[in-house]
Assembly symmetry: C2
C-alpha cells in the first residue's frame, strides 16, 4: 500500500478546506476530457455491496436546463416565504445556485433496485444505496477541486419535477443536481458564513462518548 | 486559491483507489491525537445550509460494543438466509465487519432537526441532512487513509437497536457504524471482488445524456 506523507496530508487538508459550494461560475467550457477524468475518479467511490448505484445524467438540452431553472426559482421563492423580517431580506441576498452560468449540469440519481451487489449489506438499511451515491458525489467534489473546477450542489428543487423533466427510469431516485465549471471568484469561507447566514461551530460540539 | 498540481492529483487518485472498506484490523490503538486530527478534517465537509448535522459517538464501553456485535451477528445471519446454494456459501465466506478487533468504534448519527442552518436548502429535500453526514463520512474515510488508518462501514445492523444501545436523542437518525484502526493486510481490490461476490463495472454504464 502506498505511503502518504505529511506534505500530501497537508495538501489534502487544504483541498478539503478549499472545497466550496460554488454558485458563481465563468461560462467557459471545461477542456475536452476533463469531466471524464473527474468522473472516473469519482466512480472509484465505495458502495454498499459494490453495487455502484449512482446514475449520472449530463443535462445538455437548453429546454431541460430551463425547466430545472424554473423549478429552482419556484421553490426558492417558496423557501424565502418561510422566513420573515431581517432573515427574509438576508435570504433574498444569498446566491444559492449558479444554474445560468455553469457550463456543466449533472443530475445524479440512485438506482434503488440494482442487480449489481446482489442486495449485500442493505437488508436492514436500504438507504445505504443513496448514501453510496453521496460518497461518490463528495469524491467528485474533491477531484473537481483538485483540477481547479468548482461544484455547486443545488438542493432547492422538487425531486418529482426533476425526474419528470429528465425522463428517467422509475427506479431512479433523485439525489442531487450539480453545477460544475471554473469559479468566478475564490473564497476560503462559505457563502453562508460570508453573508452571515450561518457560521460553522466547534467540532467538539458534535462529539459524544458512550 | 491554492493550485493543486498534477503530482498531487495523481496521489489523490491513488488515495481514492486505496481507500478500502477494511474488515481486518490490528488491535493496536491509534497514537494519541490522531483520531482528533482525522475528525477535524472530516468536520470541514460541506453541509446543507452549513448545518453540520453530523453527531459522532465514540463507542468505548465493552458492554455497548458487545451489544453492537450481537446486533450485527443476528442481522448477518438473517441476511445470509436470503441467499441459497452457492451464493449462500459464498456469503458465509465473506468477512463483512471488523468489530471485534478494531480499536475505534464510531457511530454516526444525523440531527434531523438542527437549529444550525435555519432550515436553508432542505425544504424540498429534507434527506439532504443525512446526505451531508455521508459527505462527512467519505471525507473521514479519505483523511484516515492518508494517515494509514483503515475504515470499515458496517451497515448490517438494525438502526433502532443501535439507537437504543447507545441511548441517544430521539431526533438523531442512525447513519453508519464505523470501525477504525490499522489494517492487518492491504489490498487494492475490494474484498467483494477478491471473493468474487461482485466485480466493479464500467463507468460508462452509469453515464447518460438528456
Amino acid at each position: 500500500m502506498p505511503e502518504f506523507n505529511a506534505d500530501f496530508r497537508e495538501r489534502l487538508e487544504e483541498l478539503v478546506r478549499w472545497r466550496r459550494d460554488v454558485r458563481r461560475f465563468r461560462r467557459e467550457p471545461l477542456p475536452d476530457g476533463l469531466l471524464d477524468r473527474i468522473l472516473s475518479v469519482a466512480d472509484l467511490a465505495p458502495s454498499v455491496g459494490n453495487s455502484q448505484p449512482w446514475r449520472v445524467v449530463l443535462v445538455e438540452t437548453p429546454e431541460r436546463r430551463q425547466e430545472i431553472i424554473r423549478n429552482f426559482e419556484v421553490e426558492n421563492l417558496k423557501a424565502k416565504g418561510q422566513y420573515s423580517g431581517d432573515q427574509a431580506q438576508q435570504y433574498a441576498r444569498l446566491k444559492l445556485a449558479g444554474l445560468r452560468d455553469a457550463p456543466i449540469h449533472l443530475a445524479v440519481f440512485c438506482e434503488d433496485n440494482p442487480e449489481q451487489g446482489h442486495g449485500l449489506g442493505r437488508a436492514t438499511m436500504p438507504e445505504t444505496l443513496a448514501y453510496s451515491v453521496v460518497g461518490m458525489i463528495q469524491t467528485l467534489w474533491l477531484a473537481a477541486r483538485a483540477e481547479g473546477v468548482g461544484l455547486g450542489w443545488v438542493s432547492i428543487l422538487r425531486p418529482e419535477d426533476v425526474t419528470a423533466t429528465l425522463d428517467v427510469r422509475d427506479s431512479w431516485r433523485f439525489i442531487a443536481y450539480l453545477c460544475l465549471g471554473y469559479p468566478e471568484e475564490e473564497h476560503l469561507d462559505p457563502e453562508l458564513e460570508r453573508h452571515e447566514w450561518q457560521q460553522r461551530t466547534l467540532t467538539d460540539e458534535r462529539l459524544f462518548r458512550r
